[in-house]
Assembly symmetry: C2
């Protein structure tokens, strides 16, 4: 069974908003073996909406419409679906009672508009919304399944998880799609492909896709099989070979970010970390503290943008800065050693570089970054030349600092 | 003239990737008065691609296809468009010569596949690609304009800016769409709507949309007019009233982020800033240093996750932490004063709170955040209770810290 997702909302046709609900839905549908073949975005205007829905009826066996179920006159999904299918809307007593009760509980007067949400196309089922007023709708028409879901992600996700998945599981085939993502750091895309192409080429199933992300390469495998365990066995078969070929450049096979992997290792080895950042400006600390419970391994850090603060907060000798410049290997080293000692951490990291767009020189161009990593015995300093914008250089620098920590802690 | 955008690429039908090219294209098309009515995503499979393109031919006068122009067998956009229109592909000598020259310059052997990129449908024009090998294609068919652009954003954007816009400007109508975004902080969405609904309701043109973002509300105005200046006059007319009604809660009317506005004010007033962060973990520093040239006003900061570092790096008296807890008004105050003095900055900020998901207590629940802001004369401390996930609480906390700085520096 193939699916089509139609996202309804005029804001999704502006330069300011993307339909992200389809990512959630695709992931869930894939787990039931359902592929998404088309995604369409239309505004709240009923004419293009009817056009898009009519087109979908001709080519898809499962159609999911998201958005346009609210109480205002802009919300037209319900009406358009009813008209295109020729199945008139009827007020549903139970929904009406629930909406009225909800308003009573909130002690607010119900705007009469809200009753539009109690309208259901003839012969359709409705799906309860525990996070808002607009119910979802499930209907079948000439062998096609049509599912209407509210637009706000928290409403859509809860409704689809609790009600949509169970109903779809009954009608979906027995096939399942299983997928796995290997995240790779420290190898360029061409080298990843060179190493693994001879391995994945003989396979039609799983399929393999290589995607480049900032600071990492992702290898996506997708397998179709009669069951989840059979699918996983197919993934293991090819996946193990790929992992072997890429070696310890693979930092994750279960979706973890690099900072999560680093955190897991640090906790496992009972080590702690402190960082001193210049050009990354707090990004490295920010990434490490995204992880719930990061206080178990992350003690803190300093963002020493000015030279004075490099000395004051990270203990970099002022004459080293004067002699070698703030962007230099010795300063990265001193930052990593200084912050380690001050914080009393097992490991210290220092990052200094030129993120641009200004400030570059011939001998020290934009993108030049030094990263120091020290423990109680020694300090390693690496020099990098990153390409791209200020944002990408900062992203790369934080990524390679995490990678240096990962390799150190794995030892 | 209305447009339809078809994004081609199997990775865009997975849970891992979104079509973002359409945001760039929509913004450019709008500036020429062209509205996007439909966006479709299809995979590299020629059958659904032909279906989607055929559907577009029936309903749109301008069709832009992005992606699927590369050298591999997966790239089918060129072939499918040629087949659906019945306009066979011919090799273009000039493109062939350019591709060959490119490889020669790079001193690499050209894989024969690459010559597929020299194929152009009968009667079509090609658009030079200065950032890759796949040229774009411009063709007209039964009064419909069809534009094929390469998928990588840097190739697509450069090509569209240099060649696509000029050609479209010739065929687009004289109407222009102008838009403006007012960014609002410190008011809930309902209050924003309550204040401005009586102002925008009488207007059909511009149209008004209110969108909630993390830590801010955006008011989007769009005006259609016979010229840019007429459009801007329409925006000014309604926009001035809206700005008046929202007062100094509006921090930007030209697209700047809150951190950019803060940076502009600080430079203008020749003030400097240093920050001490606990629960935001570096996010506040990171946001401030996203701005090129932030070293002009941002001296640096500390991320003091552990209590020991709150004392050591930000000078918070250890007995204050013991007495009041690390998450308290007095600690936020001491952090802001301590970092200001150590960094020698005009302003100091201290942020301490519970980002969750763990660590909450009845008297100090997840989402509780204290922010201190100090200058040479005094310190202000505000207490917040933010809703949502760890990520949202951190985002809100950094946003309100920036807002406190903005209000202080505007004084």
């Amino acid at each position: 069974m193939d699916a089509e997702i139609i996202a309804v909302g005029s804001e999704l046709l502006t330069p300011f908003r993307l339909d992200t609900n389809s990512l959630f839905l695709t992931s869930k549908l894939n787990s039931l073996g359902i592929e998404v073949r088309f995604k369409t975005v239309v505004g709240d205007d009923p004419v293009p909406l009817a056009e898009a829905f009519g087109t979908a009826l001709k080519r898809s066996r499962l159609i999911i419409l998201t958005g346009g179920l609210g109480p205002t006159e802009d919300d037209r999904t319900r009406e358009v679906v009813s008209e295109v299918l020729g199945r008139p809307l009827h007020e549903n007593e139970e929904i009406r009672a629930r909406i009225e009760k909800r308003y009573k509980r909130l002690n607010r007067e119900m705007p009469p508009n809200n009753l539009r949400q109690a309208l259901v196309p003839e012969g359709a089922d409705w799906l309860e919304n525990n996070n808002g007023t607009a119910p979802g709708i499930w209907m079948e028409h000439d062998g096609i399944i049509i599912l209407l879901l509210p637009g706000p992600p928290w409403e859509l996700e809860a409704m689809f998880d609790s009600l949509g998945m169970a109903r779809l599981a009954c009608v979906a085939g027995n096939e399942r799609i299983r997928s796995r993502v290997y995240k790779v750091v420290g190898l360029p895309e061409s080298e990843v492909d060179h190493r693994i192409a001879p391995l994945y080429r003989p396979y039609q199933n799983p399929t393999t896709t290589i995607l480049a992300c900032p600071g990492a390469i992702e290898v996506h495998l997708r397998a179709r099989a009669a069951s989840e365990s059979e699918g996983d066995a197919l993934l293991d078969d090819l996946g193990d070979k790929i992992e072997m070929a890429l070696g310890d450049h693979v930092f994750s096979a279960r979706g973890e970010s690099l900072e999560e992997v680093v955190g897991i290792y640090l906790v496992m080895k009972q080590q702690t970390l402190a960082v001193a950042e210049s050009c990354t400006g707090g990004l490295l600390s920010e990434r490490l503290t995204r992880i719930p419970g990061s206080s178990d391994f992350f003690l803190g850090g300093v963002v020493c943008y000015s030279n004075k603060l490099k000395t004051k907060l990270a203990g970099v000798p002022a004459d080293w800065i004067e002699q070698h410049g703030a962007v230099s290997g010795v300063v990265a080293q001193a930052m990593s050693e200084g912050i380690r000692k001050r914080a009393g951490a097992s490991l210290g990291v220092g990052v200094t570089g030129i993120a641009g767009p200004g400030g570059g020189l011939v001998e020290k161009p934009v993108g030049l970054v030094f990263i120091g990593l020290s423990d109680s015995r020694s300090t390693t300093v690496r020099q990098f030349q990153f390409p791209g914008t200020r944002e990408r250089i900062r992203q790369w620098a934080s990524q390679m600092a995490l990678e240096m920590i990962r390799r150190k802690v794995r030892e």
